[in-house]
């Protein structure tokens, strides 16, 4: 059961309205090969929010995202999109409302950027009308939004990691969905490219999209999200605004990491500074 967020502090002005959710999980059990990673979890994604799911490795955060994006079938419970059980909706219908950037995306050898981004138009295309000016406009908009228009004729395999990730984001944007789910979108990128992408997601959020991202970097979560879901061992430990969730005690509870939380000198929000984890192995006697 999720722990209710304490109603003591009023939400920050930018916080999304709680209670209105196009996408939610109702008591879902999710796992692989009959081994549940998550059991009976309930979570709602506030509309218009930039929600970030954090937690240690194997806590079930990516599993939850896969469940929310109907990549994983719940063993029990259901995921509800716009009031309907998501698996009962036609596959393309869901894809026109909810976009996902998974970790396992494969760029075919030799595909060009524009071609890859155009694949995001698939749910809008039929057997007869496989290309239209609407598709072309959507691809152009997606390229512009991610700053990759100049890369359009290049081959994806020639790009740097940061450029490639932007192109994949463009592909998901070309789907033109209001809901955008991102599974560890900044992993394997250097810090400059991580920040660049986070700024892009924040911009997409400000221009009306609901964003749900699984992130490893707590400070990115604290800085860019307006709603954080902290998970551990398949449960939600805390959820709410960053100032409520990113506290020293919570971070220690979730990650087993002694830390102090200071004020971010740039944003004024919480900033986690690790104290260093205790080494449990015997490291010789100390005076």
């Amino acid at each position: 059961m999720p722990e209710p967020t304490p109603p003591t502090t009023p939400p920050a002005p930018t916080a999304p309205s709680e209670g209105v959710s196009r996408l939610r999980a109702d008591a879902v059990t999710l796992g692989y090969d009959d081994r549940p990673v998550i059991e009976g979890l309930t979570a709602a994604i506030p509309d218009g929010s930039f929600t970030v799911i954090i937690g240690p490795n194997a806590c079930g955060k990516s599993t939850l995202l896969r469940g929310l994006s109907r990549l994983l079938k719940p063993g029990a419970g259901q995921v509800v999109l716009d009031g309907t059980e998501i698996r009962s909706l036609p596959a393309k219908d869901v894809a026109r409302r909810l976009g996902l950037l998974p970790q396992s995306a494969i760029a075919p050898d030799g595909i060009t950027v524009a071609d890859l981004v155009a694949r995001g138009r698939y749910p809008h295309q039929g057997l007869l009308r496989q290309w239209s000016t609407v598709d072309e406009q959507a691809v152009a908009d997606a390229l512009d939004a991610t700053g990759t228009r100049g890369l359009a004729p290049r081959r994806v395999d020639e790009l740097s990691g940061g450029q490639r990730q932007r192109v994949w984001v463009a592909m998901v944007l070309a789907q033109q969905t209001d809901l955008l789910l991102l599974d560890e979108p900044t992993t394997f990128l250097d810090i400059a490219h991580q920040v660049e992408l986070m700024e892009l997601f924040a911009h997409l959020n400000r221009t009306g999209r609901t964003i749900v991202a699984v992130l490893h970097d707590l400070n990115h979560a604290a800085r860019y999200a307006d709603h954080i879901i902290a998970m551990r061992d398949g449960r939600i430990v805390a959820s709410g605004a960053p100032s409520e969730v990113v506290t020293s005690s919570r971070v220690e509870e979730v990650f087993d990491l002694p830390n102090i939380v200071i004020e971010d000198p740039v944003t004024g929000g919480p900033l986690v500074v690790p104290r260093g984890a205790p080494v449990t192995a015997t490291s010789g006697a100390r005076p």
């Binding site: 109907r70 995306a105 060009t112 698939y122 496989q130 290309w131 000016t133 406009q137 152009a140 004729p153």
Partner: protein, 354 residues
């Protein structure tokens, strides 16, 4: 209501044309169009050459005149009764094999995973031999036996290999093993049956276009065309699968269903081809890779694969019939060239994985 803006042109990195036919709108790569047109021309030319060659030679212009309804009585007999079925079989069944190989290689993401390497043609042939031995040699029954044999083989391979997924090396190794076992079972059956049947079936066993008759070919086409039509529907879905199962699912394609259906169609195409011309190797293996390289696409193009397959089988049959000092089954030619190709591809694959 949507605001109509001028769409700024996107440089997609290659030249493309938007093709419109009524409600059908599709954007095609210019290079693929050119390549396809060239291959159509080559196939037509080779077809005319094939129809002209033989003990009663006809000049190309005489062949064309006869095809268009002119020519002498004898010309018509030679072209329509003696040679047309064989030439059409090479074109159509070569095309089926090219498509089947393209589907297998696309779904498995492996240039070695073609139906001939995996033993599906051998399995179809086993089904045909069993039908001949147990029931009769009438072509509808033999065709049904071939399709049943192909399907059973596919199920057996899937049962043995599915733990490793369809994209692993395990599938290839198991397929090659099944192919070898079926091949020896086929040889054993040929040794056991009566001499007449064995003589007839062993020539067939290498894959040959000798003695292709109109009726079995028409049967194969009647089965194959609906299968190809199913693939036309599946093709855009297969393109989404190229991006990985997660992206495919997220964009609204159903990978499991698409994979199962397209493999089923491919098994069907291989089986109906094998039922007419026996297990011809190499076409399904090489045509898709040649098509991809020539068309320069980031995926295996189905239409070009079909055209390359038609071309390869037509050329192989011409070489087998007219170039070699002794007339041999076309399958012998494709196996010789294919063996070389297979060795080179395996070496490349091992280098790539190392």
């Amino acid at each position: 209501m949507s605001l109509i803006r001028d769409v700024p042109p996107i440089d997609v990195g290659y030249r493309s044309s938007v093709l419109r036919a009524g409600p059908f709108v599709v954007s095609l790569r210019r290079r693929s169009l050119v390549v396809a047109t060239v291959f159509v021309a080559v196939v037509l030319t080779l077809g005319v050459v094939a129809l002209g060659l033989g003990t009663y030679p006809l000049a190309p212009d005489a062949v064309v005149r006869t095809l268009l309804g002119g020519g002498t009585e004898l010309d018509r007999i030679v072209v329509f009764d003696w040679r047309l079925a064989r030439t059409l079989a090479a074109i159509v069944l070569g095309g089926f094999l090219g498509i089947a190989g393209a589907v297998f290689q696309t779904v498995t993401r492996n240039p070695l995973a073609s139906p001939d390497i995996l033993g599906l043609s051998n399995g179809a042939f086993t089904g045909m031999l069993l039908t001949v031995v147990l029931f009769s040699a009438s072509w509808p029954l033999v065709t049904a036996g071939g399709v049943a044999g192909g399907l059973v083989t596919a199920v057996v391979i899937w049962a043995l290999a599915h733990r490793g997924g369809t994209q692993g090396f395990r599938l290839i190794v198991i397929g090659i093993g099944v192919a070898a076992m079926l091949s020896s079972a086929n040889t054993w059956m040929l040794l056991e049956v009566e001499l007449d049947t064995a003589m007839f079936a062993s020539a067939w066993g290498a894959g040959t276009l000798n003695g292709v008759a109109g009726a079995p070919l028409a049967g194969a086409v009647a089965c194959g065309v609906p299968l190809v039509a199913v693939l036309v529907v599946l093709a855009p879905r297969l393109r989404q699968l190229d991006l990985g199962d997660d992206v495919a699912t997220a964009t609204g394609a159903r990978p499991g269903l698409v994979r199962a259906l397209s493999l089923l169609v491919a098994v069907g195409l291989v089986s109906v081809s094998t039922a007419v011309i026996g297990p011809v190797a190499f076409i399904a293996l090489a045509a898709p890779q040649i098509a991809r390289r020539v068309a320069g696409t980031p995926y295996i193009p189905l239409t070009v694969s079909a055209l390359v397959g038609a071309c390869l089988l037509l050329v192989s049959d011409l070489v087998a019939q007219h170039v070699l000092p002794v007339a041999l089954p076309a399958g012998v030619v494709t196996v010789s060239v294919g063996g070389l190709y297979l060795v080179v591809t395996i070496i490349q694959e091992i280098r790539r994985r190392a």
